[in-house]
């Protein structure tokens, strides 16, 4: 029984996968509506690829279930799921032309020849590869191969498109270009796209919703804006670019003291923890009249502003932004606006 082409939602219920004693993924529960673009974000080894392979059927789950509406799909063989998958190394068939690669899924479905030709042409147009259709993958550039991989995955008109770090092998410029391309293709299809990445910029710019994974567990699910502004936990904050992490003593009502200096910030659930951790983006930490005293250790010019690192008397390294060039060894005071400082319980990692 193949997966239904029209559906309302994809549902993961407590999906887990262990390799021997190692729990690579545990209790992944998630609902994705049709048309949504979801990014699975996390550092390497966080279980995001495991999750994707479980959905694709390339890896059996060890617990939980996966549903498309009322059809259970985690018990279906990978061949019967009919999901389009884009692999990290593209996995194009090297002995087939671009056209044959894209038509492979349709040929396996024994569709009439005319229909295959029409749909392959359409997929080729979608990824703008009209002039390369009769070449072998080896004759294409990385970006073009990527487009073939996407076209091959979408040619079978899948309810679900799974992408496993598809841009990680491309250079920076091409990556930006393909990002827009992927978003455009997704919007044109109206399917569910699940996109695995370790790059938060990619996740933020592409996804409707981001699932942050760490150690095989969901740490936060939210829109890009939510995740960017208010990471729920200190480890998520670190991953979302809050590089500065200062441990201090809670001083009541959203305040944390660090020796002489006190910072005011947004209370993200300190509760009655004995210590608090202040997380600040380097972008938001600037020179101020009063703030954390530190000694400048390095400074570099990055276009509009200078970015530098400084060390506090406790030996904590801080990254900050400055309008002016500073001398190495200069004594500075660093602070940020209260809305840009997130305060977490200090025992959290």
């Amino acid at each position: 029984m193949p997966a239904p082409a029209q559906f309302r939602q994809l549902r993961l219920e407590g999906v887990g996968r262990s390799f021997g004693a190692m729990q690579a993924l545990s209790d992944l529960t998630l609902e994705v509506k049709r048309g949504e673009f979801v990014a699975l974000l996390g550092p390497s080894g966080c279980g995001k690829s495991t999750a994707l392979n479980c959905i694709a059927g390339l890896l059996a789950t060890t617990s939980g279930s996966i549903w498309l509406d009322d059809t259970r799909i985690d018990t279906l063989a990978v061949e019967d799921r009919g999901f389009g998958m884009v692999f990290q190394n593209y996995a194009l068939f090297p002995h087939m032309t671009v056209r044959a690669n894209i038509g492979f899924g349709l040929r396996m479905r024994r569709r009439p020849r005319a229909e295959i030709a029409a749909r392959v042409d359409e997929a080729i147009r979608t990824v703008r590869l009209e002039t390369q259709a009769d070449k072998l993958p080896g004759q294409l550039s990385g970006g073009q191969q990527q487009r073939v991989a996407i076209a091959r995955a979408i040619a079978i008109d899948p309810p679900l498109v799974l992408m496993d770090e598809p841009l990680s092998n491309l250079d920076a410029k091409l990556r930006l270009e393909m990002r827009q391309e992927i978003r455009r293709i997704h919007q044109g299809l109206g399917c569910v796209t699940i996109y695995v990445t370790h790059d938060q910029d990619e996740a933020l710019s592409l996804a409707d919703r981001i699932v942050v994974l760490r150690d095989g567990q969901i740490r936060q699910v939210g829109t890009p804006a939510e995740l960017f502004a208010r990471p729920a936990r200190a480890d998520v904050a670190e991953f979302m670019g809050f590089r500065n992490r200062l441990v201090g003593r809670p001083a009541g009502a959203g305040k944390v003291s660090f020796g002489d200096a006190t910072l005011e910030g947004v209370d993200m659930g300190i509760g009655d923890a004995p210590t608090a951790l202040a997380a600040i983006r380097p972008d938001d930490l600037t020179l101020a009249e009063s703030g954390i005293p530190a000694t400048v250790e390095a400074i570099e010019y990055r276009g509009r502003d200078f970015f530098g690192s400084a060390r506090t008397s406790d030996g904590v390294e801080l990254y900050f932004r400055s309008h002016e060039a500073l001398k190495i060894g200069a004594k500075v005071k660093l602070a940020a606006e209260p809305s840009k400082i997130l305060l977490y319980p200090g025992d959290a990692t």
């Binding site: 694709a56 061949e79 593209y90 996995a91 194009l92 090297p94 492979f104 396996m108």
Partner: protein, 294 residues
């Protein structure tokens, strides 16, 4: 010196440097132990006892006792090679996915270290009329020692070539099978290709060139069979292979010229098969069997 560039640098630009000198020992061996004897034999084969140029070749192709050895050898070597290849392919596919790949590979490859004579001696006992194999079959009522004849005939040679040839064929096949990126198989599966279709559309075309090479090397090994054809076969009749004919000419009739001619004919017939198989490779894709990048 014509230009300001030192001689050493100019030689290096043409690919000649100190490292090139390391080729010399191999070159000496190649010339001394292969090229010289080969051409010596070639010339010798055109100097038969009867004094004509093509006397040996005329003799070979007019005497059924001699020219039929080609057919006899092919009748052993071709089926053995095909059986080995067909048997090695699924084993290689399975071993590729094993965790203890090394252990299994070692066990499978062990016969290669034994040598054909040792295997032949063992087989004479094991497959002989009083051997375990025949006695077990007899016990199970599947035949009698007189009806199951597995040595001193075609099957004796066949079995020994399978036993000694399989590890070699398997090792080569395994390396080609391992060379196919598993992501390709996964990609084909997500696109709806079942195992049989994946084998037919992905693996077979990508493996074909490698399997052709494997076939050639295994075939050449089987074609030059000698010890087991003598020890396990019926060297006077059904397993009178071409190397036996050459041996008899050289060491029983002391006609080195005829023996050389037979050796040349042996080489030529092998070459025909090998060239035919390798030419068929051009029908297939020949490139890296991995995703083109990454």
């Amino acid at each position: 010196m014509r230009s300001g560039v030192p001689l050493k640098a100019r030689l290096a630009a043409r690919g000649l440097d100190g490292v090139t000198l390391l080729v010399i020992p191999a070159l000496v061996l190649l010339v001394g132990l292969f090229l010289y004897p080969f051409f010596y034999g070639l010339v010798l084969s055109f100097m038969p006892k009867d004094g004509t140029l093509l006397g040996n070749y005329r003799k070979f192709f007019s005497d059924p006792f001699l020219y039929e050895t080609i057919q006899t050898t092919l009748a052993i070597a071709l089926p053995v090679t095909i059986v080995n290849l067909v048997a090695a392919l699924p084993v290689a596919f399975r071993v590729r996915r094993l965790q203890h790949q090394r252990l299994v590979t070692t066990i499978l490859v062990l016969p290669i270290t034994l040598g054909t004579v040792l295997v032949a001696e063992g087989m004479l006992n094991y497959f002989g009329p009083q051997g375990w194999f025949v006695r077990t079959l007899t016990l199970l009522g599947l035949g009698s020692p007189s009806s199951i004849r597995l040595v001193h005939n075609y099957w004796g040679v066949f079995l020994s070539l399978v036993i000694t040839g399989f590890p070699f064929t398997f090792l080569l096949t395994l390396s080609y099978v391992s060379g196919v990126d598993t992501a390709l198989e996964n990609a084909a599966a997500t696109l709806g290709a079942r195992a049989a279709a994946r084998f037919r559309t992905i693996f077979l075309p990508l493996l074909a060139p490698g399997l052709a090479i494997t076939f050639c090397l295994s075939f050449v090994q089987a074609y030059s069979v000698f010890p087991s054809a003598v020890l396990l076969g019926a060297p006077a009749g059904p397993t009178r292979v071409i190397s036996i004919a050459a041996y008899e000419a050289a060491f029983e009739q002391y006609d080195y010229s005829l023996a050389s001619a037979i050796a040349m004919i042996m080489a030529a017939t092998q070459l025909v098969i090998v060239v035919a198989v390798l030419m068929s490779r051009s029908l297939f894709y020949r490139g890296p069997a991995a995703g083109a990048k990454g």
